[in-house]
């Protein structure tokens, strides 16, 4: 046997190759062969798992995997008798094309870009768009997705099967939408990436490691877009910045007991400096003359939080201005409610309570945990502990998120202790 020296593989290389090769083969053969392609790539990975363990990892793992997947696919399609002889030659050309594609390191792989557009096709529901992106581009397994999103594995599998069917029914071939269509299609893609990120980022008892991977996958997809000349819009950069800033706080917002830590009590030494730096550079690239997008504003807010050395040094004035801008551009009750947090820091609890009352009496008021959590914060500041406790109790009832519940209970206990 040869050397048993195993060159250490890059982290997640199987997962990423899976997505790359699926995209490539779907691009070449069309979504109608999706299942056979999935099986072939899975088979290739199993072979790799068996062979690479014994021997060194091949010099070019991508090409190795594609060759094996390709052969497997030829076999299957032949058996299915769906393929005419000419198509076999096409398969052999594929390998060369693929090698050209993968050798362009750092630039977006053309078929993956098209695959992103296919998975985010407007004819698909948001739920389907998310699951297709996670499975076919991200290379996540059903069990991983179910753990991260706290869904039954069976539910994930069923929804993926339905999503695939819909994809095959609606998307005949993979393309990049042309000019006029591109902008609106790109907006959907960005929204899905943003949703992927928020799914991963949501504080829940889901498996934290995988949740982080989903966040990083969302960033990776956006970075792929930003490397393409048609897609590197200011919004894409703003979205990347926003995700980097949020992700930089990933470790700090959950403590060793797995409990939620709010911004005020986070250990800022745990913030990921590299991600913040990356976020800043993309925020610079995102500069626009015209109106900033929602991603721009959210990124800027997150930026202020990341760069404040201490909670007390946060530029609340700056943040409040951003919220005002966001509200002016497009009214949203959630934004109105969240705006009260920086407003409180700038103008104090008394005036913030007036704002809160305005919101409550407005047409968009909805009983929510967030509303009562903010109310509790303001009342605590006024040393109205009884009122604060009553508000927190309502917040506990209204949230279905276990981690939030625990967090509110902890605050309640603290209030009980500080109450004279």
């Amino acid at each position: 046997m040869g050397e048993t020296k195993n060159t250490p593989l890059v982290e997640h290389v199987f997962r990423h190759e899976y997505g790359k090769i699926i995209s490539f083969l779907v691009h070449k053969f069309g979504p109608s062969h999706l299942e056979q392609i999935e099986d072939a790539v899975q088979e290739a990975l199993i072979k790799a798992m068996q062979v690479w363990g014994y021997n060194e990892t091949p010099q070019n793992p991508s090409a190795w995997l594609l060759r094996v997947a390709n052969n497997q696919l030829i076999d299957t399609l032949r058996k299915d008798k769906r393929m005419v002889t000419g198509e076999v030659d096409k398969l052999h050309d594929n390998i060369q094309q693929f090698q050209q594609e993968v050798s362009l390191k750092g630039t977006i792989n053309d078929s993956q870009l098209k695959m992103i557009f296919a998975c985010c096709h407007p004819s698909l529901s948001q739920e389907y768009q998310i699951i297709l992106s996670l499975k076919l581009i991200g290379g996540f397994g059903n069990a991983e997705i179910s753990k991260a999103l706290i869904k039954k594995e069976e539910t994930v599998a069923k929804s993926f099967t339905r999503a695939k069917k819909k994809l095959k029914d609606n998307v005949a071939s993979l393309d990049i939408p042309v000019e006029l269509g591109l902008k609106s299609r790109l907006n959907i893609v960005l929204k899905i990436i943003y949703l992927l990120f928020t799914e991963g980022y949501a504080a829940s008892s889901g498996a934290n490691l995988i949740k982080k991977d989903i966040c990083l996958e969302a960033i990776r997809l956006a970075l792929l877009l930003s490397g393409n000349k048609y897609c590197k819009t200011a919004e894409v950069h703003a979205l990347i910045a926003l995700m980097c800033f949020h992700a930089s706080r990933f470790e700090a917002r959950i403590d060793l007991n797995g409990d939620l830590v709010d911004l005020e009590h986070q250990d800022r030494k745990l913030y990921d400096r590299e991600l913040i730096k990356k976020g800043i550079s993309h925020l610079e690239l995102a500069a626009v003359k015209e109106e900033p997008s929602d991603y721009h504003i959210q990124a800027a807010i997150s930026y202020y939080h990341c760069v404040a050395k201490r909670f007390s040094e946060t530029d609340w004035q700056g943040i409040l201005k951003l919220y005002d801008l966001q509200l002016r551009q497009q009214y949203s009750p959630i934004v109105q409610l969240n705006r009260i947090v920086p407003f409180h820091r700038v103008y104090g609890a008394d005036r913030a309570l007036v704002e809160l009352l305005n919101y409550k009496q407005g047409p968009h008021f909805k009983d929510s945990a967030l509303y009562y959590a903010i109310q509790a914060e303001l009342l605590t500041d006024q040393q109205n502990y009884k009122g604060a406790m009553a508000a927190l109790k309502k917040a506990v009832v209204l949230t279905s998120n276990e981690m939030e519940k625990k967090h509110f209970y902890k605050k309640l206990a603290n209030l009980q202790a500080t109450r004279p």
Partner: protein
């Protein structure tokens, strides 16, 4: 010291269920396990076997696609290790990652001319 043959059987069903990430992790365990054997000069040889094959009978009068055995009985690969005795070889086999997938290892001493 004697040489021992390890035959790896089964585990296929579990493998098919895995996500790419899990497969990579599993593969790296095999690499680490074999790397360890090599470091201790216990590894002589070994390779995986392809799933497809032929079974030849009656000097080729009957040739069938094989192996026939149930999935759990198909040999997926082999390894030759050195150890002072069978017990030592069994001890070595216990670290094999195949057990994670419900597979097994058959350990057999390889006979030599100078018994």
């Amino acid at each position: 010291m004697s040489n021992f043959l390890f035959l790896f059987r089964g585990g296929d069903a579990a493998r098919v269920q895995q996500s790419p990430e899990e497969m990579q992790a599993h593969m790296q365990k095999w690499g680490a396990w074999m790397g360890g054997l090599k470091e201790h000069d216990q590894l002589v040889d070994g390779l995986p076997l392809a799933k497809e094959g032929k079974v030849v009978e009656n000097a080729g009068k009957v040739i069938t696609d094989g192996p026939f055995a149930e999935g759990s009985e198909v040999v997926g690969g082999y390894l030759i290790v050195t150890s002072k005795d069978l017990n030592g070889a069994v001890e070595i086999s216990k670290g094999c990652p195949i057990f994670e997938h419900g597979g097994n290892v058959e350990v057999r001493e390889i006979m030599t001319m100078n018994m």
